[in-house]
């Protein structure tokens, strides 16, 4: 108990406030904060977790210093809600592929959403949704993006730490290939002929997929300034089917501009 009271007496005054907001998503990225088991209580000591419905009932009103946003915009109401949240947050950070690129649910953007509703729900008139699933940055200015499906909890801890002490978060922007080499994994694309998205995908996961004998499937989205089409062309020349490549690029980050352009280009070629 003495430990507890000590801790209380040393609580920093005017702690920065953190709020966590959810839109269309699986909850996995905000869960990453609770998954920082070794750091969670220390974080709660240094910042005021002011709004985090998944973890606590008490909520404090804004404005907030840091707003973490999970999920994509899929309803009119959510499109309005994010504009209000933006006004309340000094730094607005998107966490994960849904908030940053629209998520797996952005597959609807290539389909007829009314048909989707009819397939899943017996009474479609009860469902209100937009035809598209879009990234937060399509609606409001975003200060920083954490990539990943899901995000890496160490990057989340780094982000909160950096914002609290007032420096830029250190998050790598090189490709998964760099992490793979560092890990000493034999290249699955070269050695096994597997169509792997590692060369065009931003690092952050630790290059786990190739270490488990499989393709990178792009959870962290496109790295800056990549030519995805040159990679898919290479795989096509090795005999990979165009249909497979469209599906490979069009998943959790499929609606991120670089991936989207690449899958659309592949489809156009098929129609020529």
């Amino acid at each position: 108990m003495s430990k507890t009271s000590n801790q209380k007496s040393t609580e920093p005054a005017n702690k920065p406030t953190v709020a966590v907001f959810k839109f269309a998503s699986c909850d996995g990225c905000q869960l990453s904060l609770l998954d920082a088991e070794d750091e969670l209580l220390a974080i709660a000591h240094h910042v005021e977790i002011a709004y985090f419905l998944e973890a606590r009932t008490r909520t404090l009103d804004g404005p907030y210093d840091i707003g973490l946003v999970e999920g994509s915009i899929t309803t009119e109401h959510d499109a309005e809600r994010i504009r209000d949240i933006r006004k309340q947050c000094r730094y607005l950070v998107t966490i994960g592929a849904c908030a940053t690129a629209g998520g797996i649910q952005s597959l609807r953007n290539w389909a007829d959403v009314d048909e989707f509703i009819q397939q899943v729900y017996a009474t479609p008139q009860y469902i209100s949704t937009l035809a598209t699933s879009t990234a937060i940055a399509d609606h409001v200015p975003v200060d920083f993006e954490l990539r990943g499906c899901p995000i890496n909890k160490d990057q989340l801890v780094e982000l909160i730490t950096a914002l609290v002490i007032g420096r830029v978060p250190r998050v790598p922007n090189y490709s998964v290939c760099v992490e793979c080499k560092r890990r000493g994994t034999v290249c699955v694309a070269v050695a096994k002929g597997i169509s792997c998205l590692g060369p065009v995908t931003q690092a952050g996961c630790g290059a786990i997929c190739p270490a488990f004998n499989r393709d990178c499937f792009g959870c962290y989205g496109p790295q800056e300034f990549v030519n995805v089409t040159s990679l898919t062309r290479r795989y096509e020349s090795q005999g990979e089917s165009r249909e497979h490549l469209v599906r490979l690029v069009r998943n959790f980050n499929g609606y991120a501009p670089a991936f989207r352009a690449a899958s659309d280009a592949l489809e156009e070629q098929s129609h020529e």
């Binding site: 801790q7 909850d27 017996a122």
Partner: protein, 434 residues
């Protein structure tokens, strides 16, 4: 003058996903209860059409960040049935171990950070930690062990990447699993402490005539396999699920609502039904704790679910210790190869929060032609509303804040995962005329 009141919880907290609760009462008569799931729909069953068989475990994992393994395991088994694949005993055992990891992570989180605060009078695990630091730290350490187990077997804790139709892309290394053994043994002892703690909580007297439903297996506690049984005597194969259970679409919800046929009645899935129906299959330590915790099983009070969850936490650690201790040789075959072809298959497994069912049809092109997914929370939704109808009269003596707190506590008995069911909670209590 009328005694009408209404209560509303606009955003339920300490649950996964988004929902609200609306209750309207007249005097002590409950006129209307509505669990409104407003989490926006994401249409997984639609966009799975036209995807490759091997993509399904990667995609369905994204339905839920808390229980991705449940989706992966159910999808893999259903698709393996469609393809006529039989798993090796080694793969089967590693899949049980993977599921143990998810049960540990999910149960430890729910018990210590989300549900125990209701019993001990705190708004969150974070606040509770100021007075019960050891309990919260113990819970976090257990949760971490579950996540570490998931990372060794699955590559990472959330949305594992090593699960595939036919087995694992790579078998876990013996050295990595053995290194975790001391922590798993610590976890087993810690979970026993936790069961004893939660069994000492005060439970509201709230016995209901639940029809409990779970998988049941003759020789093991249900995770990946078994027949579907109920406390009312149902005993069917998984293939018969859709003849006995039906999903209905109600206006207040983006989740479909499951009922048991023929009378369209509510039923209960999750830890309480599993302990009630499968007590005999628990491993010795878990069984000893179940029998000595002071609750008579079968229990008809879902406030006891936190104890059932604790017993399952012991069970998951106990089984993990057993499997890891016996993992002497890495299997030479970590996955069964296949060529996709037309077929249909369904399967049910036990997610941490209850029975989960998937059915897939593969077309002639080897791609998914149809998918049906029934998560645990949509099955429990009717039962949660039935519970509230019975429970609300007992909280009307309190002001709105306290009445709401008590209703939320009841809802958390279910560890609802609303992201899964769409598909978080907002409670409205409408006390009409006030």
């Amino acid at each position: 003058m009328s005694d009408k009141r209404q209560f509303e919880v606009k955003a339920l907290s300490r649950v996964e996903g988004e929902g609200r609760l609306y209750v309207r009462v007249d005097g002590d008569k409950v006129e209307h209860v509505e669990l409104n799931i407003y989490e926006p729909p994401r249409f997984f069953e639609s966009f799975l059409r036209g995807r490759e068989v091997r993509e399904v475990p990667d995609i369905t994992a994204r339905i839920c960040g808390i229980c991705p393994v449940a989706y992966q395991m159910t999808a893999c088994h259903a698709l393996e049935k469609a393809l006529g694949l039989t798993m090796t005993p080694e793969i089967r055992l590693l899949r049980r171990l993977l599921y143990c990891g998810e049960w540990i992570e999910s149960h430890a989180l729910h018990m210590h950070l989300l549900h125990a605060p209701d019993f001990l009078g705190y708004e969150s695990g974070i606040t509770m930690a100021a007075d019960h630091r050891e309990v919260v730290e113990r819970g976090l350490r257990m949760k971490k062990i579950g996540n570490d187990l998931l990372a060794i077997l699955g590559g990472r804790a959330i949305h594992p990447i090593n699960v595939t139709v036919g087995g694992f892309y790579r078998a876990p290394r013996r050295s990595e699993l053995k290194k975790l053994l001391p922590e798993l043994e610590w976890g087993l002892a810690a979970a026993v402490e936790t069961v004893r703690l939660v069994a000492s909580f005060d439970f509201p007297a709230f016995d209901q005539a639940y029809d409990c439903v779970s998988l049941q297996h003759p020789s093991e506690y249900p995770l990946n396999e078994g027949r579907i049984v109920s406390s009312s005597g149902l005993d069917i194969s998984v293939e018969e699920y859709e003849s006995h259970f039906e999903e209905r679409h109600l206006p207040q919800s983006t989740a479909l609502h499951s009922v048991m046929l023929p009378a369209a009645t509510s039923y209960l899935v999750g830890p309480l039904p599993r302990v009630n129906l499968c007590l005999g299959q628990l491993l010795p330590t878990a069984r000893r704790e179940a029998e000595s915790c002071g609750i008579a099983w079968p229990s008809q009070n879902n406030f006891h679910s936190i104890v059932a969850r604790g017993i399952e936490l012991v069970a998951a650690f106990e089984e993990a210790v057993e499997i890891v201790s016996q993992y002497h040789v890495e299997p030479s075959v970590s996955r069964i190869e296949y060529t996709p072809h037309a077929g249909e298959g369904c399967h049910a497994t036990e997610a941490p929060r209850g029975l989960i069912y998937h059915r897939y049809r593969i077309g002639d092109d080897g791609l998914i032609a149809e998918a049906k997914i029934v998560p645990p929370t949509s099955q429990n939704q009717g039962q949660i509303e039935d519970d509230l109808r019975q429970f609300v009269p007992s909280v009307l003596q309190y002001d709105d804040a306290e009445a709401t707190r008590r209703c939320e506590h009841l809802i958390r008995n279910y560890d609802p995962c609303i992201s899964c069911a769409t598909h978080f909670l907002t409670l409205t209590i409408d006390r009409q005329g006030k």
